[in-house]
Structures are given as structure tokens and as C-alpha cells.
């Protein structure tokens, strides 16, 4: 009996000690974790926009996240966008609800601190609180609007689509007329050496400069990549100047995507995925812009 | 027919066997001539056992047409005292005793066994040790032949009045053992345990081992005696049915025996001939019983467990000799064959004749001689000396040339599984061999190593030339419980 008492006592103490250690570690690291979590993503985003280590981004550049939600209530489904508000007060957000047909349904100010906006849990709670109890929301996706000096410069579109094996996660940058500026593969599980080559410059850079009209009917060609194009796509490796690259890019602007050898399915999934993301976004952003303009909701972009 | 197209390297030879069968099997000739398909069908319609078996080249043509030839008594005989399974005989004669042909010279004092008789008239010269194929040396009696003595003449007597016990005593007294196989005392076989009623007698005329033609000639030349012997056995056992199983490659024997059987059959004794498919080991007791009756003798049980008694045709002839003629068993028909001997023959020799005498009688050996085997090539023993005397169970002595034997080195098992197909007992020789090779013979019990009767089919077919029988014997020795 005494034995059991000692065991229980010592176990309790050790559990408490362990809890103490872990709790301390958690408290010390949680802030850094939050901070570092999106660092990589941000770096990718800026590099897509053309700002690398050598060429620092200008101070006037700003990123504005727009979160899209699907709202369900008695009337049925509608779509809602969480947009930041323009003005000095940085922590102001509005949830703009839009019907499936594009009609404005209402806007709800959301009380949310700026640090919390990128976290799913607090954001959902804040929106739910703003909308009232009879509406349920489901997070759909996010878009980042890039402004320079308050003027819209580009959109960053994170997205995912099914690849040959599992999902492929990408971030792409398009300009105001939805011409692709850049594409970066964030996560994938394609076969190494085959579909895994989608991360290579000579594949993903093919999307660069494709206009919206070209993109809409973009296909995949199962022919070998021409040599000059290959060099232009991987300009760093072959030491081409920007002008050379631009000249070659011009040449292939309206061409289909050249499939990776032996990985046509992966190439096609990426092409279709990119196509779908841009098309959907273009459709939605026009509706959102229209509504924002009609309702005179002041946004910083 | 699980083995229908198994060992196809031998297909050509099998085809010749078909032809042979077609040529002579008169009772099937009409159907056989009809079409090639029916030929195949016909072949397979011969009785056989379903599992395993091989068809080695028969090589019987060397002696099958040669009539049994008397070989006179040599100058000196060495009679091994233990010629049967059981306790060896104790001599009943003393040194320098004069013996007459057929005199008792040895008797079993205690245990299982049969008496031993003098094959010739002569004088006991020595009690010594003779070379023996299995046991290296074995105690024996040496008799110097009295070459002047006239051979004893035996006349048939009437046995119909004798009771089964009296008949049995005669069989025992004549020293009859199973001369086709291991030398099991015949009177024991003829007296099966009472709890297993026997209803069938099977005479084994399969003679499935290559080269050997002793039984074949016996059946051709002594068909009436064999049938009469069968009647004696049937009477002893008190049953009616007798099947004589003969492989289809001996059509003449089938014919002669059928006639003899038909002539001898009475309402009391129903004797019939069953042609068997040519397949080794057709003559093995268990396989023969399965071929003819479809009954399976359980492992480690005697045939009487399934109501069957099996005797070799030559043993039956010996029983005839013992009962009808009153002649003890001291002569043996031995096939001498192979490319290593000048003149192959089927010889009637006295028990105790040394191989060297036989070789001398047949004109010596040829230069190609590479291996001498007592018994058949599949289960016989290779011997290294010509001083070995013939025993009651010696059915052949083969003098094989280099091209008749196989001396290739063996390699690793390639898991072709041919041995599994060939094994008539459904064992896994490759597994046994692999275990023995890896030094784990004690684990081979689960593969049924003790059920193996070392017919040699597995080693015969093995393309890697692995000495599977050797491994199995090793396993049996090491894995003794």
C-alpha cells in the first residue's frame, strides 16, 4: 500500500515536472513559431513578385489578404470576403457577403486584431460573431492583393489541386490583367525524377508571361522542349541576360506548355490547376470589385 | 493424370514404349490402332498410381529375350547367414561336415527368420566373413562344392489335401523369403494378424527397375508354376482373389500369364492379370496396391492393414517349389546386364555364388565398366569388390559403363520442384536436402522423411544432380527420434 502511495506520488510529481518543462518551452517558443511560420511563404511571395535578396522590396509595397468564405443560412449559400478596411486604423476588417449571382447581400464589420487575421481559429470566431448565430461559415481560400503606393500591382494566389499522386500546393502571382508573373510549387509528392521535375525552373517558368487569354486555352504539348527556350527558362544557370530571356519568352508566349518527359500527367495537372485557379479568381475578383465599388466600401487596394 | 506430361525429356523414350505396347498388346490392339489420341488414352488406361513416379530408360532389351540359363555350381560358395530381415541364422553344421544339396545348414534360434539350406553338395570349409554390399562384411559359411555330386531331382507332389498350417510350415521350412525386395520371411506375410481380414492377394510382376528381367523370364518360362504357387498362397490365406500386376512393357509375359491364369482359375480361385502402366516405382508395395486396388496403405503400416497381401512372382515360384516340389530356396535367377559385361544373361545361380564366378562364367567384363551394382540402378547398391556372394534377394547384378551412369557434380537447388512432382510419397525432397545441407537434419521430420522408401525418383529427375537420396538417408540417421 505504501508502495502504491509512493508510486502515485512520484508519478504525479514527475508529471508535474514534465508539464512544467513543456509548458515553459511552449510559452517561450509559441511567439517565435507564429512569427516564423509564414516567413518562408512570404519570402516566396516576394520572390515571385521579383524582389529577391539582391533587390529589396520597396517600402511602399503592401500585401493585403482577402479571405473567402462560404456562408450557409436559411436562404441557401452565399459567398463572403473578409477584406481589410482602408484608413489609419489597421485592425479594421469587413466581411462582405455576396450572393451566388453576384448581388450584394450585406457587410459586417469584424473585430479582429491584425496579428490574429492569419490564424484560422480566431478569424473564424470573429467572423462568426460578426455574422450572428444563424449563419455558418466555411473557410474557402485566400488571395493576397499586392499594392504599391496604394495602387494595385498584382495578386498572389495560393492554391492546391490534385497532381499525379497527391495534392500539389502552389503559389502563383498574376498581374492586374491576370497575366502570370510567376509560379512556385510549395508542396508536392510527385515521383522524384519524373513528376517531381515540376519544381524545376524549366518547367514552372514556362507559365511566366502567359496572358489570360492564352492561359484560358492553354494545353500541354508532348514534344521536346526547344533548346533556346530551355536556356531562357533557366536563365540563371545558362547566364542569359534579361533582354535575351524576354526576347525568347516573347517567341513562346502563346505556345502550349511543354510536358515533362515521362510525366505528362503531372504536367497536365499543373497546367489545368493553374488554369482553374486563375480563371476562378478572375471571375471572382471582378464581382468583388463591382460590389466594393457599388457599395463604396473603402479598401486599401 | 498428374504426371501425364511431367518428365518430358523422356518423351521420346515414352513414345517408344507406346509403340512397343501397341505392337504386342493384342487385347487392346484394335482400339490402339484406331487413332493417336486413343493411343494416349489407352496408355493412361493401364492401372497406375496417381502421384509421382518417373520413367527412366528401361534398358531391358539387353536380356529380356534371353532364356534363363543354368549356371553350374562354382568351386566354392559363400553363404551369408543373414539373408533375410530378422535375426541371422546360426549354423547347424560343423567345420568339415559333408552336406548334400538342400540340406539344412543354418537355423534361426531366436526371433524372426527362416532356415538356410546348402545350395550344393560339398564340404563345409570355413565359417568366416564375406563381403557384403550393405554391411561391408557379414558372417558366412564357406562350402567347397563336390563337383561330382549329381543334382537333386524334385518331383511335384499333391498338396491339395494339406491344411493351411501345414502349408505354412512347408513354406517356412524351405527358407522362403521375399526375393524381390528386402527379404522379408514369407511365412510371416502369409500369416497376417487376425484383426485385419485379408481379401486380396497381389502378385508383383511389375519389375519396374530398369535392366532387370529376372521376373520377366520367370513369368515367361514358369507361368504355370507361378499360378500354382498363387493358388497355394490363396489357400493358405483362405481367400479367392489374386491379381497379378505386370507392367505393360512385358506384353509377352502379360499374354502368357493371362493364359495360365485363365487356365488355372476355378470358382474357388479367381486369378487375373492386371497390366500396369510403365512407371517407376510401380513395383513398390504401396504403389502397386494403390494401382491395382486403389487402397492406400497408411504410413508405417503393413499391406494387411488394407486387406492385401503382396508377393513377388519369383517368391510365388519359390513357394511353389517349397510346397509342390519340396525344394528349399537355394537358387536364384539373377539378371546380369549392362554394357560393362561381355555377355549379359539371365542366370539361375546357386545362392552363395561369388560375383567373380559369374563374371568368369560370362566371359569377363568390358573395358568400359565403371560401376557395379547389386540390385536395380534406382535402388541397388554399388559395390567395390567382386568377392560378394549372391544372396536369396539378389535379383540382378549390373555392370554399367560410363555412359550409363551419371557422374556429374551437383549444384545448388534451383527450386524447380521436379522432385516434388516425382516423389510417389508426396514428400518434399528439396526441403529435406536443404535442411540437411544447412546442418538441420532434425527438422526434416515434418517433411515426412521417415515415409521415404528411397525409390530414388527425386534424385533421378533432379536437374541440379543433387544427391537427394543421400541427404535423405543422412536425415534419417540424424533425425532418429
Amino acid at each position: 500500500m505504501k508502495d502504491i502511495m509512493t508510486i502515485v506520488f512520484r508519478l504525479t510529481v514527475s508529471c508535474l515536472l514534465a508539464g512544467l518543462v513543456m509548458g515553459t518551452a511552449f510559452i517561450f517558443t509559441s511567439k517565435a513559431k507564429k512569427h516564423n511560420e509564414h516567413v518562408n511563404e512570404q519570402k516566396v511571395m516576394f520572390s515571385l513578385l521579383g524582389y529577391t535578396a539582391d533587390q529589396a522590396k520597396p517600402a511602399s509595397l503592401a500585401l493585403h489578404e482577402v479571405y473567402r468564405y462560404v456562408v450557409t443560412d436559411q436562404q441557401g449559400l452565399s459567398v463572403g470576403y473578409l477584406v481589410p478596411m482602408a484608413g489609419e486604423d489597421k485592425a479594421a476588417y469587413t466581411f462582405v457577403a455576396i450572393g451566388l449571382d453576384g448581388a450584394y447581400l450585406g457587410s459586417y464589420p469584424v473585430a479582429l486584431a491584425q496579428e490574429e487575421v492569419s490564424e484560422l481559429g480566431p478569424r473564424d470566431q470573429a467572423i462568426a460573431a460578426a455574422l450572428g448565430p444563424e449563419k455558418t461559415i466555411r473557410y474557402a481560400d485566400e488571395t493576397i492583393v499586392v499594392t504599391n503606393n496604394g495602387k494595385r500591382q498584382a495578386y498572389l494566389l495560393p492554391g492546391e489541386f490534385p497532381g499525379f499522386k497527391t495534392f500539389i500546393k502552389v503559389i502563383m502571382a498574376v498581374d492586374q490583367s491576370f497575366t502570370v508573373i510567376g509560379l512556385e510549387i510549395m508542396e508536392h509528392e510527385e515521383d522524384p525524377g519524373l513528376g517531381g521535375e515540376i519544381v524545376q525552373n524549366y518547367f514552372k517558368n514556362q507559365f511566366k508571361g502567359k496572358s489570360f487569354t492564352a492561359l484560358k486555352k492553354l494545353g500541354v504539348a508532348k514534344v521536346p522542349l526547344p533548346d533556346d527556350y530551355l536556356k531562357a527558362l533557366d536563365a540563371d544557370k545558362y547566364g542569359l541576360t534579361a533582354a535575351d530571356v524576354a526576347a525568347v519568352q516573347e517567341l513562346y508566349q502563346d505556345k502550349d506548355i511543354y510536358a515533362l518527359t515521362g510525366a505528362t500527367i503531372s504536367s497536365r495537372s499543373v497546367t489545368n490547376g493553374v488554369k482553374g485557379i486563375v480563371k476562378k479568381f478572375a471571375y471572382r475578383v471582378s464581382i468583388l470589385d463591382k460590389v466594393l465599388a457599388e457599395q463604396q466600401i473603402a479598401v486599401p487596394f | 493424370m498428374s504426371n501425364g506430361i511431367r518428365f518430358n525429356g523422356l518423351r521420346t523414350r515414352r513414345f517408344y514404349a507406346w509403340l512397343q505396347a501397341i505392337k504386342v498388346s493384342y487385347f487392346k490392339r484394335l482400339t490402339v490402332a484406331a487413332s493417336g489420341f486413343i493411343q494416349v488414352y489407352d496408355m493412361t488406361s493401364f492401372l497406375t498410381f496417381p502421384q509421382g513416379g518417373v520413367h527412366p530408360p528401361e534398358s531391358k532389351q539387353m536380356t529380356s529375350q534371353l532364356a534363363i540359363e543354368e549356371m553350374g555350381a562354382p568351386a566354392e560358395l559363400e553363404i551369408i547367414l543373414g539373408q533375410h530381415i530378422g535375426a541371422p541364422c546360426t549354423p547347424t553344421v560343423a567345420l568339415r561336415d559333408e552336406v548334400k544339396e538342400g540340406d539344412l545348414i543354418g537355423e534361426v534360434v531366436k526371433g524372426l527368420g527362416v532356415p538356410l539350406h546348402a545350395p550344393v553338395a560339398g564340404k563345409v570349409k570355413a565359417f568366416g566373413a564375406s563381403a557384403h554390399p550393405m554391411r561391408v562384411t557379414a558372417p558366412s559359411i564357406t562350402i567347397v562344392t563336390d563337383l561330382q555330386a549329381a543334382p537333386v531331382r524334385y518331383t511335384p507332389g499333391d498338396w491339395s489335401g494339406l491344411s493351411s498350417e501345414e502349408l505354412l510350415k512347408k513354406v517356412h521350412g524351405a527358407g522362403v523369403v521375399g526375393i524381390g525386395g528386402a527379404g522379408f520371411p514369407s511365412h510371416v506375410k502369409l500369416n497376417p494378424p487376425a484383426d485385419n481380414p485379408v481379401d486380396k492377394l497381389i502378385l508383383n510382376g511389375a519389375e519396374c527397375e530398369p535392366y532387370i528381367t529376372a521376373d520377366h523370364r520367370q513369368m515367361l518360362e514358369h507361368s504355370a508354376e507361378i499360378v500354382e504357387g498363387a493358388k497355394v498362397i490363396l489357400k493358405i490365406l483362405g481367400i479367392r482373389d489374386c491379381h497379378i500386376g505386370i507392367e505393360a512393357n512385358k506384353p509377352d509375359a502379360i499374354k502368357v500369364m493371362s493364359q495360365a491364369a485363365a487356365a488355372a482359375s476355378t470358382p474357388e480361385f479367381n486369378i487375373m492379370v492386371n497390366p500396369l502402366k510403365v512407371k517407376y516405382p510401380q513395383g513398390s508395395e504401396k504403389q502397386l496396391i494403390q494401382s491395382i486396388t486403389g487402397r492406400k496403405v497408411p504410413g508405417f503400416a503393413l499391406p494387411s492393414a488394407v486387406g492385401v497381401v503382396v508377393h513377388n512372382v519369383s517368391t510365388t515360384k519359390a513357394i511353389y517349389d517349397a510346397v509342390v516340389l519340396g525344394k528349399p530356396l537355394y537358387e536364384k535367377i539373377v539378371t546380369i546386364s549392362g554394357k560393362g559385361i561381355k555377355r549379359p544373361a539371365n542366370l539361375r545361380v546357386k545362392v552363395g555364388t561369388k560375383l567373380s564366378d559369374i563374371v568368369a562364367h560370362l566371359g569377363g567384363v568390358t573395358p568400359q565398366l565403371a560401376k557395379i551394382i547389386m540390385g536395380g540402378p534406382m535402388m541397388g547398391f554399388a559395390v567395390s569388390s567382386l568377392d560378394i556372394p549372391v544372396t536369396k534377394t539378389t535379383s540382378s547384378v549390373l555392370f554399367l559403363a560410363e555412359d550409363e551412369i551419371d557422374a556429374n557434380p551437383h549444384s545448388q537447388c534451383i527450386r524447380c520442384g521436379w522432385c516434388l512432382e516425382a516423389c510417389p510419397m508426396g514428400l518434399e525432397p528439396k526441403e529435406i536436402a536443404i535442411h540437411v545441407e544447412a546442418g538441420r537434419p532434425e527438422d526434416t521430420g515434418k517433411f515426412g522423411v521417415f515415409e521415404c522408401f528411397e525409390c530414388g525418383c527425386c534424385a533421378y529427375v533432379c536437374p541440379a544432380k543433387r544427391p537427394l537420396v543421400q541427404f535423405i538417408r543422412l536425415a534419417k540417421m540424424k533425425a532418429k527420434r
Binding site: 508502495d3 508510486i7 512520484r10 508519478l11 514527475s14 508529471c15 518543462v21 513543456m22 517558443t29 516564423n36 | -
Partner: protein, 205 residues
């Protein structure tokens, strides 16, 4: 029953004689799973080193207080605690490396090597010896991982620590995950061979 080995001997013992990967054949999962580059091996090595050292020291400190009947649960709790700590730290400060190592950081908790050292060594020895033993074992693991990583990275990608050495990729095979099996197997055989040769030369001498 304190160990009679010096600190240095303890460390060397962990790296050579009782190398967790090649000699004790423990903790094989990461050795196969994520040893594709030297850097990966190094990172996981650091994590294991940390957990090993801290767990060993913790157990050595509290060795008299641990009731023998709840020995194993206590070890598990200790290891889990330190794994949690390193997991949190890596997730916070090195998110990229953390993402690469994926689930294996959390799985350090189930590494047999750590429990084994606690059971075999730390619960009997002084804090000092346990510390050095922990260092040795951790380094041994790290060295093993880096050695495998070295071969796989060099042959698979033609690089070492990300620097291009060969200028081309000789055999993609080696960076494929399952090549870890072949690499570890062949390396183990190599070390066995060295041992045999060493013993033979010793016998001759």
C-alpha cells in the same frame, strides 16, 4: 557500480564501439527514411543528441527517486518531455528543417536507443558519466546519419551539404527513400568487413 571509463572514452565508445546505427542496430527508421542528405542527418542528429543528453542527465539526477516498478513509464515520460521541447523549438526557429524532417522528430520518442541508454547506463551512473555517454551516443547517431547522408547525397545529387561537388547527378537511385535500405545494409556489411579484417590482422600480429 560506476563506470571506469573516462569521459573521452565514453564519447568514443558511443561513436565507434557502440555506434547506435551500425553496431547496436537501433533507431533504423530515420537512418533509412530521411538520411538523404548530410544536412538532414545532421539536423536529426542534433535533435537526438539533445534529447539523449537531457534525458540521460534527468534520469541520472533523479535515479534514486525513481521507483523501480514505474521505471519504464518514467523514462518514457522524460523522453517525451524533452522531445516535445525540441519539437517546439525546431518548429519555432527552424521551420524549414522541421518541415523536412516531418514526423521523425516526434518519433524520437520511440527511439529504442534512448530508452536503452537510460535503462543500461543513466539509471546506474553519475550525472557526469551519463552526460558524456549521452553525448557519445548522440554523436554516434549523428555521425552515422551523416555518413549515410554523405554517401547518398554525393551519389544521388552530386552535392555535399548542398554544395555541388561532382557537377552532375550520378545515380538518382540513392536519394530515393528506399535506397536507404541498401545503403545501410551495405555500410553495415562494410563495417563488419573492416572488423573481420582488423581481427585477422590482430591475430596474425
Amino acid at each position: 557500480m560506476a563506470t571506469d571509463k573516462s569521459n573521452l572514452q565514453l564519447v568514443v565508445n558511443g561513436i565507434l564501439n557502440e555506434n547506435p546505427i551500425f553496431r547496436l542496430v537501433l533507431s533504423m527508421c530515420p537512418a533509412v527514411g530521411i538520411s538523404t542528405t548530410v544536412m538532414n542527418g545532421f539536423m536529426l542528429g542534433v535533435a537526438v543528441l539533445f534529447v539523449q543528453v537531457f534525458s540521460s542527465c534527468t534520469i541520472a539526477v533523479f535515479k534514486n527517486k525513481i521507483h523501480p516498478r514505474i521505471r519504464i513509464p518514467t523514462y518514457t515520460l522524460t523522453i517525451a518531455t524533452w522531445v516535445t521541447v525540441i519539437d517546439l523549438v525546431l518548429a519555432a526557429y527552424l521551420p524549414e528543417a522541421y518541415a523536412k524532417m516531418g514526423i521523425f522528430i516526434k518519433l524520437i520518442v520511440a527511439f529504442a536507443i534512448i530508452t536503452m541508454r537510460l535503462e543500461m547506463f543513466a539509471c546506474k551512473e553519475s550525472v557526469n558519466a551519463s552526460f558524456w555517454d549521452g553525448i557519445g551516443m548522440g554523436l554516434g547517431f549523428m555521425v552515422g546519419m551523416m555518413a549515410i547522408g554523405f554517401i547518398r547525397e554525393l551519389l544521388g545529387l552530386g552535392t555535399i551539404l548542398g554544395y555541388d561537388i561532382l557537377g552532375f547527378k550520378p545515380l538518382l537511385f540513392f536519394v530515393l527513400p528506399f535506397a536507404g535500405f541498401f545503403c545501410v545494409g551495405l555500410m553495415m556489411a562494410f563495417f563488419n568487413w573492416i572488423e573481420i579484417v582488423y581481427k585477422r590482422s590482430k591475430q596474425r600480429a
